[in-house]
Amino acid sequence: MSEIPHQVTDFISKSAPFDVLDEDTLSSIAGKTKVIYLTPDNQNSLLKEYQTSLFLIQTGQFTITDENGNERFLSEGDYFGFIALMEPGKGQIEVEIDSPGVVYCIPKTMFDVALDNRRVKRFFTAAKDDVLLNQAVEGSNSMWLYKPLHEQLDKAPIQIEQHVSIQEAAQMMSQHGVSSLIVTEDEHLIGIVTDRDLRNRVVAQGMDIQLAVSEIMTQRPAYILHNQNMFAAIALMSEKNIHHLPVLHANDRTPVGMVTSSDVIRKQRSNVLFMIGELSKATNLYELTRTAWQMPQYFAANAKRAGDFDIAGKVLSQATDIMTRQLIAFYIEQHGQPPLGYCWVVYGSQAREDQTMGSDQDNALLLAATPDASQAQYFESMAEYVCKGLGKCGIKLCDGNIMASNPALRLSVDAAVLQAKKWIAQPTPEAILEFNIFLDARAVEGDRALFKNLQQRRKPLFKNDFFLAALARAANSDAVPLSVFNKFVCSKHNGKKDGINLKVNAIALINNLARLYSLSAGITVPNTVERLNILGQIGIISTEDATNLRDIWLFLNRLRWRHQLRNNVTDNIISVSELSSLEQHQLKASFKAIHRAQQAVVMKLSGGIA
C-alpha cells in the first residue's frame, strides 16, 4: 500500500486548474511530483534538475523574468515554467528568490497528462497569453443579450406595402411561416400586422379580406434600432407588453428585421427579466411599490446561474427606468402636461446599467429653457414626487443629493453646457470626484432630443487634452488590491480578514478606463460593456484588450452579484475564501490586467505622468 501525504494531494487538488481533474489522475500526478525547498543557493542546481517541470509555488516569493525582460512577482498558488513546456524553445526565464519556500515540481509527462483535460489546457494557454480565461464569461447563457441585434437577426423582414390586400398579406405570412408582417410606405415602416390582428380584426368581425392591409394594421408601432442589443428589445417588449418588435436600420430607418416573443423565448432561459413586465403593469404608486419591493426576493429566487448574474445589473437598471417612467406618468396624470420641454436623465450605475441592490439613485432634470417661477414649481414638485417614489420602491435616496429634487440638478441645456465648461476649466482631484458621476449619463424619459443636444455640445469639450490628462491621473489613483508578489491585499470586513471591495478596487477602475477612452473618442453611450465593444471596433484600444477588459468586467460583476444574492447583502466586499481556486486565479489575472490598462491610459492620455 503506497500512499501519498494528504497535504500533497490536498494542495494540488485545490490549485486551479488541477481542481477539475479526477482523483486517479490527481494521484498519478502527485505521485510523480518532487517537492523542493527553493533557496537562492540551491536554485541553480534545482532549476536545472527540474528544467522539464511545471513549478507550482506553495510558499515563498519569487521574481520571474521572461525572455523579453518582463518581470512577474509570484507567490503561493502561482505557476511558472509552463511556457517552456508548452512551446519548446520559448519561455526561458530567470528566477530570483525573494523569499525561499516550498515549490512543487510536476514533471512534463504528468503536465501533459493534465493538459489532456480541455479546461486545464485552456487555463495554461490563457496564462501563457496573459489574458483572462474566456471561460470566466463563456459559461454565461446571457451573452447573446449583449450582442447587437443586427448580429442576431437570422432573416430579412417580411414586408408588404400598405395597399396590398388583407388576403395577400395572410398568404404571404403563411408562405413564409411568420406570425407578423411589416407594413411599409416607400420602404419605410408605417405599421405591423400580426396573426392576432387577422383573428380579432378580420375573422371575428367578418371584414372583407380584399380591403387594404392598412385598414387592420397597428399604426406607428414601437420599434428598435439595429445597433441596439437584444436586452433593450426584450425590455421594450416587456414594458409595452408587445410580442412583435420591428428592427430598423439606425441610419436610414429602413426595416431590417423583426424580433418576436418566440425568438426571445427560444433564447431566453432566465426568469429575472420578467420583473420588468410586472413593473409595467402597475397602474398606481401603491401597486408599483408593492411590486418593486419584491425585487430583492425575486432576484434571489431566480438568479441562480452565471448568466443571470451577468444581466442582473441591466435588469435592475431597466426596472428602475420603468419605475421612473411610471412615476412620471402618474405625476403627469395628476398635475397635467409639463409646461416646458424636459428630459429625465440618470447618472452613474443606472446610466451604465450596472446597478446593484446597494446602488442609490442618481438623476437630474434637463429643461428646454430656464423655467419661470410656475414652471420651476411644476418640475420641483415632479422631482420630489419621482425621487421619493423611487425611494419608496427601494431605490435609496442619494446621500450626495445627486437627485432631480436638488435645484442645482434641474438645469436648462445651456446651463448644463456652462457647467461642463467649468469642470473642464478646473479639473482638480476634488472637482473630478464631484463631477465624475455626471460623465456617465442616459436619458430615461421626456424629450430625448434635449439630452442629445447636450451630449453633442459637451462632446468636443470633453476631448480637451488637459481635462483628459487630469481624469487619467485621477483614474490611476486607485489601485487594484494585489501586492507586488501577486497576493491579494485584503481588508477586514464582517469579522473576516479576507475582504476585497470589488466595486471600488476593480469594477470602478474599468468603468473609469472605459469612460476616459470614450470621452477621448467622443463616444456618448454610458454602458461600460458597450463602450468597450465600440472602443475595440474603432481601434481606440486593441480588440484583444477591449474583449479582455469586457470579460473581466462581466466576471467581476458576476462575482459581485453572486455575493449579494447568496449572502443577502448590499455591499460589494467579497471574501477571498468565498471564491474557488480557479476564481482566485481569475481574479488575480483580472487585477493584473486592470493594472496594465491603468498604466496604458496614463501613458496615452496624460503623457505618462501618474
Binding site: E3, V35, T39, N42, G101
Partner: protein, 236 residues
C-alpha cells in the same frame, strides 16, 4: 509536568544514545545525505505498554522530496487501544487490516545505514522503536537521526530564555518558516511536514550547503541510536 518528566526519564533510560557519528557519516556534507523523515502513531505514550498503530516515512535528498517514496502502513494490533485510534481517525477494522509490526520494523531498518533519519522529537520515536526491537528480539542498527524539535529549541534558545508552552510542536516550528498548514495525526503527513521543516531549517543553518553532519553536533539535534541484542549500553 511530573508525568512528562517521568516519561522523558523513562524513555531516556530505555535507550542507548551513541556518543559519536559512525565514520561513514562523520564528514558527509548535508547536501550529500539521503534523508528519511519518519513518524509513528502509538496507542499511548507509555513506552512500556504503547503499541505502534501506524508508520509513515518519506525520502528526500538535496534534489527535494520524492513523493513516490512515500510509505504508510497501519500496524495490525490486538488488545486495548483506548481512545487513541479515534484521534488518529482509525477504525478497529482499519487496524485489523494493517501489516504486522515486525514487517514494518524490518522494512524501516533497511534505511538504517543508507539514510539519515529525520524526526520531530526523536527521543520519543526512537525510544519506542528501541522498545519494539527488544520485544521483537531484533537488534536496532546504529541510526543517525536529526531531531527537528531539538534544532528548533537550539535556534530558539539563541533568541529567548523561556520557550512558551507548545513553542516547538511541529506546526509551530513550521509557522516560523511560513510553511503551509499540514494535517496532523497521520504518520505520513507528519513525516512529510517534518522533512519540509528540516529543509527550511537546513537553509537557515547552512545556506550554502557546505556544512557536515559533524558540524551540526553542537546543536544537540544529531543523535545516534542503537541496540545490539542484549547489550543496551554499547556506545560508539
Amino acid at each position: 509536568m511530573a508525568f512528562w518528566s517521568h516519561l522523558r526519564d523513562k524513555i531516556t533510560s530505555l535507550m542507548t544514545e551513541h556518543k559519536g557519528l559512525p565514520d561513514t557519516f562523520k564528514h558527509t556534507s548535508l547536501s550529500a545525505c539521503n534523508w528519511l523523515a519518519v513518524d509513528f502513531e502509538y496507542s499511548s505514550l507509555d513506552v512500556s505498554t504503547a503499541k505502534f498503530m501506524s508508520a509513515g516515512w518519506i525520502e528526500g535528498n538535496h534534489t527535494g522530496i520524492d513523493i513516490q517514496s512515500s510509505y504508510y502502513r497501519l500496524i495490525r494490533a490486538q488488545g486495548d487501544l483506548a481512545q487513541t485510534p479515534i484521534i488518529h481517525g482509525l477504525t478497529p477494522s482499519d487496524i485489523a487490516r494493517g501489516v504486522h509490526v515486525r514487517d514494518m520494523y524490518e522494512h524501516i531498518c533497511q534505511f538504517a545505514t543508507s539514510h539519515i533519519w529525520v524526526l520531530h522529537n526523536a527521543q520519543l520515536d526512537m525510544g519506542m522503536l528501541k522498545e519494539l526491537s527488544k520485544r521483537l528480539q531484533q537488534p536496532l542498527p546504529a541510526i543517525v537521526c536529526i531531531d527537528t524539535m531539538q534544532l528548533a529549541l537550539y535556534q530558539l534558545y539563541k533568541k529567548v530564555d523561556v520557550i512558551p508552552k507548545g513553542g516547538v510542536i511541529l506546526s509551530k516550528c513550521r509557522e516560523r518558516y511560513e510553511l503551509a498548514n499540514a494535517p496532523a495525526h497521520n504518520a505520513l503527513s507528519d513525516a512529510m511536514a517534518t522533512l519540509e521543516l528540516w529543509m527550511a531549517q537546513m537553509h537557515s543553518l547552512d545556506p550554502s550547503g557546505c556544512m557536515t553532519l559533524n558540524e551540526l553536533k553542537n546543536t544537540g539535534a544529531i543523535k545516534v541510536f542503537a541496540r545490539h541484542n542484549e547489550s543496551e549500553h554499547e556506545l560508539v
